[in-house]
Amino acid sequence: MSNLAPMLSLRDFSVSFDTARGPLYAVRNVNIDVADGESLGIVGESGSGKTVLSRGAMGLLPKRAAHRSGTVVYDDHDLSQVPRKELREYWGTGMAMIFQDPMTALNPVRKIGSQLTEGLRIRLQMSKTDAQARGIELLTRVRIPDPEAVMEKYPFQLSGGMRQRVMIAIALACKPRLLFADEPTTALDVTVQAQVMQLLSELRHEMGMSMVIVTHDLGVVAGHTDRIAVMYAGEVVEIAPTKQLFANMQMPYTEALMKSIPRLDAPSGLRLPVISGRLPDPTQPETGCSFASRCPYVTDKCRAEAPPLVEISPGHSYRCWFPIGGSR
């Protein structure tokens, strides 16, 4: 990690949605920095707010439904103060996003080539021939065989893995400095998952960009990130350098996530541990720790009072009254 000013810095970042049952707090008081060239993983189960966090940071949430508070500082510009129209200047070239589902994130009626070169033409004002050449280069870069032919194909003619590669190529088209990868491998087969993650890692090093990988699978980010933030019920409950997190996790939720990864060396016939219970209702503000209802080590103090974020070592913080490593 560098000691320079972070490229992206979220301070007290919260997102809430209006629902029939009142405001729904999807992301609550998140403080995260992403340094230049760093790769950060955001891990959590479905509904923990990780997708909303990444889209909210970019400013892609529908303005009518979502309310953001706190600040998002990108490269010394406070994006929460930037009017929506000017935000577009940052999208594509500054920040870009790879979307979760390559089946729906491509327009079914337009050729790959025209979707791929759209950003180049609009944002970088490239000529048609230049954009075409660059498009083919990008497809080659994401290891798509016969890129000239793929440029002329429609999304339905490609397989899921190919489409995800095309999505990556589109996101990389304008050479963003920061790439959000929102569950980039969820829609893919396990075999292709590894390839895509490997590809993303390589591209990140080649292009020297920062990356935020959002996933529910700790295994996916383990080898490809510098730091990992664990999210639960809209809060960051533990954040640490990757190695530190795996070696010395403090928060029971992190431990539970870790335990629910299927292991090859587990005896056969053993049931995969699951985290019982469900996420707390995001429309009801919590009084205690958000994980209290599902935590195996829960005490009365946990239910009564929300734990603050505590730093145990440089860069490693967690939210828990009774951390696993500590005295219980």
């Binding site: 892609l60 950003g119 609009i122």
Partner: protein, 291 residues
């Protein structure tokens, strides 16, 4: 080239091909009418009053005034199709523009548009058209007459107004669903402008849905135009199929063939349009299923 056309036609069923054939025939008739027929459609055959089909060179017979039904129908094709195409074309264009815009921006504009569309749609097509024609195409003074062109214009205008909410609603609904798709967010995240997103991402996806309904709307318009004629406020003087039908209805007992032939023409056209509309919709459904 020729072979290619036949090859691409082979994937359609026989009813679809017949429908296409019929629509091509009437379209050509309408466009090439001056080349096809040099006979005055309003010529009166005094010696052959109210004769049946295939008599003395009158293919479909004549009516009690001595008009040749076949010639009248050929001539009527022009105005019938003109009314239908303009009403659906203009109404569809305006409706789609309003629908796509309001579906994309949402919010208050969309709420207002939706209410207006619903309000217009709640009035039965024919009643609405009848009301509009009655208001716009009647002379304030009983003794003065309204010119035929004004009457034709008003019929087209009122049918256009009938079509706007029908197609507008389809366009709005399709836009609402397409603009929520991930690829729109993806395009946005690459810095695409709203205009780019609308034209390149939404319109190409919405248009086929509108097209499918537009063909059905052509049928609706032709029937509505004929009904207006029957009610006495449509296109005057036997200049459209509906008008021929309306003129013949008084002598139904003596010369029933006078109403059979326009009815057959209207029915074939409406059925053909429905068939083509269905084919478009089915191909859309298939595409949807593949996505």
């Amino acid at each position: 080239m020729k072979l290619g056309i036949f090859k691409s036609l082979r994937k359609y069923s026989i009813p679809t091909l017949l429908s296409m054939g019929w629509l091509v025939i009437i379209a050509l008739t309408a466009v090439l009418y001056p080349l096809i027929s040099s006979v005055d459609p309003k010529a009166i055959y005094e010696d052959d009053l109210a004769v049946g089909p295939f008599t003395n060179g009158h293919l479909f017979g004549t009516d009690t005034n001595g008009y040749d039904i076949f010639q009248e129908l050929l001539h009527g094709t022009r105005l019938t199709l003109l009314v239908a195409v303009i009403a659906v074309g203009v109404g569809g264009a305006i409706g789609s523009l309003i629908g796509i815009f309001s579906g994309y921006v949402r919010g208050k504009i969309d709420a207002v548009v939706n209410v207006v569309f619903s309000a217009i749609l709640s009035i039965p097509n024919l009643v609405l058209a009848l009301g509009l024609v009655a208001v716009l195409a009647t002379a304030p003074d009983v003794n003065s007459t309204v010119s035929s062109w004004r009457q034709v214009f008003v019929v087209i205008l009122s049918l256009t107004i009938v079509i706007i909410p029908i197609l507008g609603r389809i366009a709005r609904g399709a836009t609402l669903s397409w603009s929520n798709r991930e690829f729109v967010t993806a395009a946005k995240s690459m810095g695409a402008k709203n205009s780019t997103i609308l034209w390149k991402h939404i319109v190409p996806n919405v248009l086929p849905a509108v097209m499918a309904i537009a063909f059905l709307a052509v049928g609706v318009v032709i029937v509505a135009e004929g009904s207006l004629s029957l009610l006495g406020v449509g296109i005057p003087d036997g200049n459209s199929w509906g008008a021929i039908l309306a003129a013949g209805r008084n002598d139904m007992e003596y010369t029933p063939h006078v109403i059979y032939f326009p009815i057959i023409c209207i029915a074939l056209t409406v059925i053909s349009c429905n068939q083509i509309g269905d084919v478009i919709r089915q191909s859309l459904d298939k595409r949807e299923a593949r996505i």
